[in-house]
Subunit: 552 residues, 2 copies
C-alpha cells in the first residue's frame, strides 16, 4: 500500500509576518510547529495582537500530538496561553524557550496544567507516528532550533528563524553536520525562513557588531547607553564584555530588560565576569566614563526607558552632553518613524547617537539570499515551502529554490490556510481552511473584527458628533434643547456659533417629522443626515454622527 | 557704519521634512524661499496636510518683497494657495514650477490675482534690497533651481533640493560654473539639502535607472506596467525612450499622471518621438508585448491606478500572467507598508514585479554624503545652515560641513522658528518665533490642533460608547430606558447581555444621585465613571464614554 499523503498546513506566518504556526498531518496524526502572535499593524488600531485561528486543530483535538517550538521569540511562542486551553498537548522546546514559556504561563496561572518538555538538540524523540529531532541554528536569541520530522515519505526539515553565522556571539553555529546527515537520509520537504529573501549576499556576523560595540564603548568619553531588544541576550553579552574590557560597569533599566538579564544570568546564558553588572544606585556613584546603561526602547516604544530619556521624562536618567547612545537594533517595519523621532530627540539633548543606518551596531537574525541558497544546497529537498515572510518574500525564496535545483512544480508559495498534500510523486493544494487572524483586544478574542476596525479608522479620521434630544411622546415636540457634543472633531465648545447652528439644524429637521405618531427611526436617520450634510458644508469634514432620541 | 545683520528664519522643513519655507531678512526687507506643504504622518489622523505658520511674515507684510520657488514639488509650492491671500507679493519660479503653480492657483480661482513671474537661470534680478540669481541643480523634477541672494554681507546660496548627476535624463547638470563663481564672489552662508546626509557615497545617476528600465522593457515577454511619481517627468521620458526602442507604445493612466504628461509635452519637457504615447483604447488593440502602461500609485496610494489594479478593482485593466510591473520609486517613510502590500498583491495576481529593493529601477533626487561634501567644497561658505531634513539629518550635515572646513561655531543646526542673526563676525540664535505646523483639515486651518488629534487617537484605540437618558426634573427619576450605543468598540448590538448590564449600571448609578435638586454634572460624571469601570472590567478595553442627560 502506498504511504498516506503528508499534509502541510500553514496556520500563520505565510503571506504575512508573525503569528507563526504550521501543522504537519499524516495518517491521522498532527504535529504543530510554533504558536506565535502578530503585533498589530497600522490598520488595526487598539488591537493588542493577533493569534492564529486554530479551529482546524480544535476539531481534530485527539489527533494533535504535540506543539514543537523553534525558539523563544513572541512571534513563535506568544499564542501558547490561548492555544493550550483549547489543545491539551505536550509542548517541546529548547531550554531557553522553555524558560520563557514558563514565565509567560506562570503569569497567567497556566503553568501547573501545561505539559512542557525541554528538548536537547540532536536527541530524537517520538511524537505520535513521527520521530522528531531538534538541531541548532543561529538567530537573534540563544538556543534557536530547526526541527526535522521523520515521516514515511522522508524527512521534513523546518529551519525556524535562522541565519548562518560562523562566529556567533555564543559560539554555537548552525548545525551543518545535522543538515548534511538529513540530506543523506533524504529530505522530502524543506520549510525555510524567507524574511530576508529579498536581500543579496550574506547577513554579517554578530562578531562585526561586537567589534563595533567595543569601539563605541572604548572611544566614548562620557557615559554610554546601549538600547537593544530584551531578548537579544547575545548582544547583552557583547555589551558586558566590551564594558569589562574598557573598565566600565553595566547597569540595566527597563522592566523587560531587567527581567531577561536576571533570567539569562540564572540560566547560564549570560556570563558576568567579576560583577560588571551593577544596580542603578551603584552606577550613579561612578563617574560617567565608567558607566554603560543597557536599556529597552530600541524600537521607539513610547513607554520604554530610552524614549522617556529622549523626551527628558525619565525619573532617574537624563542625557548630559558627552553621552553616547547606541541603538543596537534596526527598526521593525512600521516602527521607523518612532525610532527616527527618538534619535532626533536624543540629538536635541546633545547626545552623540550611533544607530544602524550610520554605524554597524546591529545585524539582524535572518539569513540573506546566499545563506538561503546554502541551506537549500545542504538539505537538497524534493519539495520546498518558503515560510516566515510576506508574500513577495515567499515568491523570491521559491525562485531561489528553483535556481538551486528544486523542480519548478515542487516549490509551493502557500498562504495561511492552504492545505498542501504531498505524495511520493507530487504535491498539490487540496483545500483551504480558515486561517485568518484572531484578534486579542482587551481580554477577549475576536475572530471577525473588521467592522469594528473599520469604524475605528473612520473615527480617527474625522471624529464623532453626538446629538441627543428628548421628544414629547404625545406632541412630538422637542423637550428642552438638543445637546450636541463632539469628540475628535472641531472643538465645538470653542465654536458656540457652530454648536448653535447645529442645534438649529436638528430642530428644523425634527419639525418635518412632527405628527401624531412619530416615526422615531425616520427622525433619527433624518437628523443624522441633516447634521452630517450641515457639518460637511461648514467644515469640509465628515464626522460620524450619532443621534439619540429619548421620548417622554 | 557696519552692515545691518542678516536674519535667517526657517519657517518649515528644519527638524521635520516637508512644508519647506525660509525667510531671509536684512535692513527691513524680507525674501522668502519656497512655501510647501507637509503630508500627514501617522500621528495626524484625518489631517489633509500641514503648512507653515506665516504669522511672522503677515505681521511684516510690507517688508516681504517676494517668494522665490526652487522647484515645483508640493513640499515647496503646496502652501501658496494659503500664503498668497495673506501676503500679496510676487512669486518667482522656473518655467515648469510656474506652470505647476498656475494650475494649482487656477483650480482655486486665485490665478488672476497672483503675481507670478518666470525666472531663467543665471539671470539676476532685484527683489527689494537683494539681488537674486537662480541656478540649475539636478533633482527629481525638471527645472529645479538653487538660489543665490546677494546681501551686503555676501552671497547666501540656497541649494533647494539637489543632487549631483553628471548624466541626468534631461542632460541639464547641476551648475558647477555658477557655484564656483559664487565662491569667488564670497559666500557668507550656504543652506544645503540634508535629506540624505546619513547616506554614504554618491546617489547613482538617472542613467543607471534608464538602463534598468530599458532592460526590463526589452526583456519582458508580455505587457509592462511602470508606476512612478507623476512629477518625475524625466522618468516618464526614460520609459517613452525605452518603449520606442523596443517597438512598444505607451499609454498613461491615473489622473495626475495623465495631466502631467499632457502638460509636460505641451511645455516641451517631454519628447514623444513619433507618437509613442497612445490612448488606452488604442493600446487595448495592440498585442500585450507591444504595450507599456505608465501609471500612478508607486507609493501605494489606496485610490491610485496601480493599487486598484493590484486588488483586481480597476475598471479597465487587470493583471494577466506574463505581465511585468516596475515600481520606479522608493517608498517615502511611512508608506513602506502600503507599497509592500501592493507588491504582494501584484505577485498574488501572477505578475512579475521589479521594485527598488531588488532591482535598480529607481534613484532618488537628493545628494548623498559625498555630494554634500562636493557642494560645500565648491561654495566655501563662511556660515552653514543645513536645511530640508529631520533633526538627525541636520546634525549629520553640520558634521560634514565642519569636516570640510566650516568653523566649528559657524555651522548651525536650527529648527523651525529659530532666528539666526549673522554679522560679518559671527552668528547667533537671537529669537524663537512661532513656526509650528498649521493643519489643513476639511476647509479650515488650525494652528493648534493637538487636542483634537489626541482625541482621535484615543477614539481609534478603543472606540466610544454613548449613553443617553432622560430624567424627570421633579423626581430625578429616569424616564424610559437609558440608550447605549457603541462605535468602534465591541459590537454591542450583538451583545444584548452586555448592553442590558450597561444600562443596569447606569440605572443604579443614577439612583445614587436622585434627590430634590439633581446634581446634573455630578450625575453625568458618575455615569461616565461607572460605565467606564464596568466596561473595562468586562472587556479589558477603555472606550471613551459620553453621557447625555436630558431633563423634562
Amino acid at each position: 500500500m502506498a504511504d498516506a499523503p503528508l499534509r502541510v498546513i500553514p496556520l500563520g506566518g505565510l503571506g504575512e509576518i508573525g503569528r507563526n504556526m504550521m501543522a504537519l498531518e499524516q495518517d491521522g496524526d498532527i504535529v504543530v510547529i510554533d504558536a506565535g502572535v502578530l503585533f498589530p499593524e497600522e490598520g488595526m488600531p487598539g488591537v493588542d495582537f493577533a493569534i492564529p485561528d486554530i479551529s482546524y486543530l480544535v476539531e481534530r483535538k485527539s489527533a494533535v500530538k504535540a506543539i514543537l517550538i523553534t525558539h523563544g521569540h513572541e512571534d513563535h511562542i506568544g499564542a501558547l496561553p490561548y492555544v493550550l486551553p483549547e489543545l491539551d498537548v505536550p509542548v517541546y522546546a529548547s531550554r531557553l524557550a522553555h524558560g520563557l514559556i514558563s514565565v509567560k504561563l506562570r503569569e497567567r496561572g497556566q503553568l501547573k496544567n501545561a505539559r512542557l518538555n525541554i528538548v536537547e538538540p540532536n536527541s530524537p524523540f517520538k511524537v505520535g507516528r513521527f520521530k522528531v529531532e531538534f538541531f541548532r541554528v543561529c538567530h537573534s536569541i540563544p538556543d534557536a532550533m530547526g526541527i526535522a520530522v521523520e515521516t514515511s515519505l522522508g524527512l521534513v526539515v523546518h529551519t525556524g528563524d535562522f541565519k548562518i553565522d560562523h562566529t556567533p556571539a555564543d559560539g554555537k553555529t548552525t548545525d551543518f553536520t545535522a543538515l548534511a546527515r538529513f540530506a543523506s537520509e533524504g529530505v522530502v520537504l524543506l520549510c525555510s525562513d524567507s524574511t530576508y529573501a529579498e536581500i543579496e549576499g550574506y547577513t554579517p556576523s554578530e562578531q562585526v557588531v561586537g567589534e563595533a560595540l567595543d569601539r563605541a564603548i572604548g572611544d566614548a568619553k562620557g557615559r554610554v547607553m546601549v538600547a537593544t531588544f530584551a531578548s537579544l541576550i547575545s548582544r547583552v553579552q557583547q555589551v558586558i564584555d566590551a564594558a569589562a574590557k574598557h573598565g566600565r560597569h553595566v547597569t540595566v533599566i527597563g522592566r523587560s530588560m531587567v527581567n531577561n538579564v536576571k533570567m539569562a544570568t540564572r540560566m547560564g546564558y549570560l556570563n558576568d565576569p567579576g560583577g560588571i553588572v551593577v544596580s542603578l544606585g551603584k552606577a550613579r556613584q561612578l563617574p560617567n566614563e565608567r558607566v554603560v546603561i543597557l536599556a529597552t526602547g530600541a524600537q521607539g516604544e513610547p513607554t520604554s526607558a530610552l524614549v522617556r530619556i529622549s523626551n527628558g521624562e525619565h525619573p532617574d536618567i537624563e542625557i548630559v552632553p558627552g553621552d553616547t547612545v547606541v541603538i543596537s537594533a534596526s527598526p521593525i517595519p512600521g516602527n521607523d518613524t518612532l525610532v527616527a523621532k527618538t534619535i532626533d530627540n536624543l540629538y536635541r539633548q546633545q547626545a552623540n547617537v550611533l544607530y544602524s543606518k550610520i554605524a554597524l551596531v546591529h545585524v539582524h537574525g535572518h539569513g540573506s539570499r546566499e545563506e538561503l541558497k546554502m541551506m537549500l544546497s545542504l538539505v537538497k529537498p524534493k519539495f520546498f515551502v518558503p515560510v516566515h515572510g510576506e508574500y513577495r518574500h515567499l515568491v523570491a525564496h521559491a525562485a531561489i529554490a528553483r535556481a538551486t535545483g528544486v523542480h519548478e512544480s515542487n516549490a509551493f508559495v502557500l498562504e495561511d490556510g492552504d492545505v498542501l498534500e504531498l505524495t511520493e510523486k507530487r504535491g498539490k493544494i487540496v483545500d483551504k481552511i480558515p486561517a485568518g487572524p484572531v484578534f486579542v483586544d482587551g481580554n477577549r478574542l475576536w475572530s471577525s473584527y473588521s467592522d469594528v476596525l473599520d469604524e475605528r479608522r473612520k473615527l480617527a479620521r474625522d471624529g464623532i458628533v453626538v446629538v441627543s434630544m428628548t421628544l414629547d411622546r404625545k406632541t412630538g415636540r422637542l423637550r428642552g434643547a438638543p445637546e450636541v457634543a463632539a469628540t475628535g472633531f472641531v472643538d465645538m465648545q470653542d465654536s458656540p456659533e457652530l454648536l448653535e447652528r447645529t442645534a438649529q439644524e436638528v430642530r428644523s429637521t425634527l419639525d418635518q417629522y412632527r405628527s401624531d405618531r412619530l416615526d422615531l427611526d425616520g427622525a433619527k436617520a433624518g437628523v443624522v443626515k441633516a447634521v452630517s450634510k450641515f457639518l460637511h458644508d461648514e467644515t469640509g469634514m465628515r464626522p460620524k454622527i450619532v443621534a439619540h432620541i429619548g421620548q417622554v
